[in-house]
Amino acid sequence: MDMNSEVWGIFAMFFITILIAIPLGKYISNIFSEGPNYLDKLFAPLEGLILRISGVNYQKEMTWKENLVALLTINLVWFIIGMLILMFQGYLPLNPDGNPNMTPDLAFNTAISFVVNCNLQHYSGESGVSYLSQTGLMFLQFVSSGIGITAAILLFKAFKGKGGQKLGNFYTIFLKSCTRILMPISLLVAIILLCEGTPMTYSGKDKMINLEGDSIEVSRGPVAAFVAIKHVGTNGGGFFGANSTHPLENPSYLTNMVEMVAQFIIPVAMVFAFGFFIKKKKLSWMIFSVMTIGFLCLAIPNTIMESQGSPTIERLGLNQSGGAMEGKEVRIGAAASGFWSIVTTVISTGSINSMHDSSMPLSGMNQMLAMMINGFYGGNGVGLLNFFVYIILAVFISGLMVGRTPEFLGKKVEGREMKIAMLVALLHPFLILIGTAITVSFPSIGSDTTNDPGFHGFSEMLYEFTSASANNGSGFEGLGDNTLWWNISTGIVLLFSRFIPIIGPIAIAGLLSEKRFIPEGSGTLKTDTVSFGFMVFAVIIIIAALAFFPTLTLGPVAEYFSIKK
């Protein structure tokens, strides 16, 4: 495939995503709006059944605190069950390939990582988990994504109308997120994958004769269903170790495009859903524009850099006209791989279709920046929550700049909200930088596990913590990450970096919702304008760039200048 059609393919995919995202946003907004809904006939019987069986109080209108308690409790239950299944999968049914039990530290890391929608996989699907575990992990992929959407809906409700004490019922919102959003889309994606040749079975390994005449074993399983929710739920955890570079996980150019759209669609739709829900469509467009500009600032250079090829390899006399193909699949190509590498990192999917370790140095930096910012679209629901924190910070500074106590959507932003917003904003650099600093200080846990020396090895470690802290789950790879240190340290990072950025924004929204509503006047700072969008963008750049620039200088930037022509 030539470079031109590759680029057109990317354009087409991007515009299709946005075209679907707007009506999907309207659909999501409708689901969670008050009153009866035309979809009730279809879904209500199933939902009612599930809610009644589970015995939860699904009719009570809850405050933000009660909703958060419910959210955290249910996550704890999933984590315990998930860890138990992984630790004892060897004895449990649905294990045709006879895969062994996971070690406790790996089970801890894996369970957390799927509960928090990250899917940092320190194992390979083929040999590391049974089909029962895979199915369990698939369940976690659904519910963790549902939690993200639920968290965002709670935020929406806090800003609906003039606000109030109650933000709706966690259980019904959560269930509707799964049944009415995730399931139908996943089903559609899985069917497309099935048609393109992705397996869907509970039988063990298949045997086949390869071209050389040897008999080989081919791993398979319920892949189509798994890969669908992997993307739709912005999870990213692959069925196989090689993730979406694996031919059975991503068999064709079409599946590559479908998988890309699938992971893109809900994060973008959530932005529009916000506007529809609180009846401020212009605000949605401001958020969408800032996110898109940020996304393009990362995606365009990566697509170009990967297409141009590596100067080091060119010096060896090899033709680089097809782009930097080290670590890439020929059926996907350099441009689409470069583009995907940003899609999967700005959105917290973390599924890969090329080895990020082999990306050009500055492409690698952009991938890390995408995760450091973690709010240009971001994961399902949670991306918007992260972005909300940036908005609050921007609201505060701009509010002061126009000579008025800062307010967002008619609510005053004061000390308490700033404290929470700063805590959330601080957490990310704290986890990434402190985690990496400890690791590099001890060669036995750090540099000994890396594949490469020098700047690149540093990038591998930095990337791992960034990916964990962004709940992304992609790996720079080249890192021997199934060690006690990596499993425990990233596990802890995952825990904090998932729940604090959910608790924080909901707390801010909840607190604001309880405040007195101030109608908009001509002295009020409008948040749906270009100027304010610029401020948000500046805040994002400043927080990300200022916190990570020195560190990135020692990794990808140094590497870039070192290999530059």
Binding site: F396, I397, S398, G399, L400, M401, V402, G403, R404, T405, P406, V413, E414, G415, M418, K419, M422, L423, A425, L426, P429, F430, L433, I434, T436, A437, I438, V440, S441, G446, S447, F455, F458, R516, F517, I518, P519, G521, S522, G523, T524, L525, K526, T529, S531, F532, A538, I542, A545, L546, A547, F549, P550, T551, T553, L554, V557, A558, F561, S562
Partner: protein
Amino acid sequence: MKSENPFFDNELLKASFKESFIKLNPRILIRNPIMFTVEVCAGIMAVVCLAILIGDQSQGSFTYNFIVFLVLLLTLLFANFAESIAEARGKAQADSLRKTREETPAKLKDGRTISSSELNKGDEFICVSGDIIASDGEIIEGLATIDESAITGESAPVIREAGGDRSSVTGGTKVLSDRIIVKVTAASGESFLDKMISLVEGAKRQKTPNEIALTILLSGFTLVFIIVCVTLKPFADYSNVSISIAALISLFVCLIPTTIGGLLSAIGIAGMDRALRANVLTKSGRAVETAGDIDVLLLDKTGTITIGNRKATKFHSISNVDSIELIKAASLCSLYDETPEGKSIIELSGLGKSSFALEQSKVIKFIAETRCSGIDISSQRIRKGATDSIKSLVESAGNIFPEELKSIVEEISGNGGTPLVVSVNEKALGAVELQDIVKPGIKERFERLRKMGIKTVMVTGDNPLTAKYIANKAGVDDFIAEAKPEDKMNYIRKEQEEGKLVAMMGDGTNDAPALAQADVGVAMNSGTQAAKEAGNMVDLDNDPTKLIEVVEIGKQLLMTRGTLTTFSIANDVAKYFAIIPALFVAFIPALSPLNVMKLHSPESAILSAIIFNAILIPFLIPLALKGVTYKPIGATALLRRNIMIYGFGGLIIPFIGIKIIDLIITLFI
């Protein structure tokens, strides 16, 4: 009091200079977390310098390290100086107010004389002509003319008397005549002025909610940079780059928002000081900030929107009467009328006492029964009064009240005027039109308020028709006609229920509940003690339009903080490009393209960055004290303007500044 202190008085400078060193005390400095971390850094550099003196080789030359230490110390001193000078200016302003009342003797009722500082709340003291009133209080007996020029700058004496709305006296003012007994309403040290003084004194100053939130934001940024700089050390070690302590500390000090951190308290104090300069005493800094958020402003018509009293503007004679006849009659019956309306008729006609032969005249004074006044001169009985009263006068004498006059009267009312009908010997001649005169320039002020997003509401006792006419003429957005005290209260409540912040001014005791209910209540100094207690500001000038200034001071206060924060953070970009290459380039030469400013050497780059960082503070002190100019151009336009000036300015200026300093430093190496 209107006299302005010169911006930087020599005495003030000296005192502030001394104070800057005193404020280095860590126990004082910890109130400002950002500058406190700079002090810790300076401490570390002092230790490094000592280590070099006793033989440490790893940290470079003593001179270089010592310069870094000095620059950090200077950064602290500059920040302290900013706060000191703001405090000193505020104090100087307050002191000159306070001076007048210190140690004034007070004669108690039992004949003892004690010092004003010994007075307690509830004490009663006597003042006779020539006495300086010892303390704020309320007249409980008597009436006196008082010279309040010490407070207001207004030389005309005012009358204060027991009971009613003019019973309040201020300490430091002088009794010119008569004798009064004053009850002390605030114990020594608790008066408004004392409260105000504590607002401009750094140590006792309470941070306002917005200031607290901003401090949290800035501390958050500081924490981020602590993490960045602390972790940079192991990262550098991993990459075999050795970073000196001086370099790491310089990076940290440059990145944390020292510019806004150093000026933050100065900005707050200067805001209070500006209020004081406008002769407004506030009970809390919060009130001034709230003033910047005001959505609705309630203003009394009389004295605020219109100049005190109605004035005669036109004579309307009926068609069979010569207009000269009406003018003469109206003037004659106003010659001995001391009311402002009467005087204005003379003013309009131009016919004074010398124009008439006034022998055998008899003045008829206004009484409630007849509701008209006039003069009997020779055989003429000239009367003027409200339409109804003259009409009944005319009709009871058997004459007809002309239809034409009825329509004239209606026309005058329709124009917002008040008709005064004139009759001679019980025959109506015509009417004098009295009009409220809208203060010159007031319309423009309301226009400005509208652009600021503030709704103005006129409160008046007039009937709705007149009120509407004046409201339109003055350009207010809404009015409350035939207003009773509880109407104000209800209006405030209604607006507040919609989430709006309301400000009002008042002076009478019956204003007190509304003043307390309003988010910003400004009591006039001439008003009753109850009104002053209820409001959260007192205007010493008794100027009803003062609220407009207070609103702008509040907005300026927030804007100055916001813009300097933006400026300070935007500066970081350039500082990064100065320091990061300097940190690494010796060990990773490939990074030299990052040195975009082409700074001379790593040492000169680091010094230039921290020197620039330090001298920015004194450069910005005038801006911090004066405040960023507020322009009522709408929030979005204002944001755009401030982003352009302080955002992009903050991005570009340090590139230029650091390069220039680097060039200068190079001269000495």
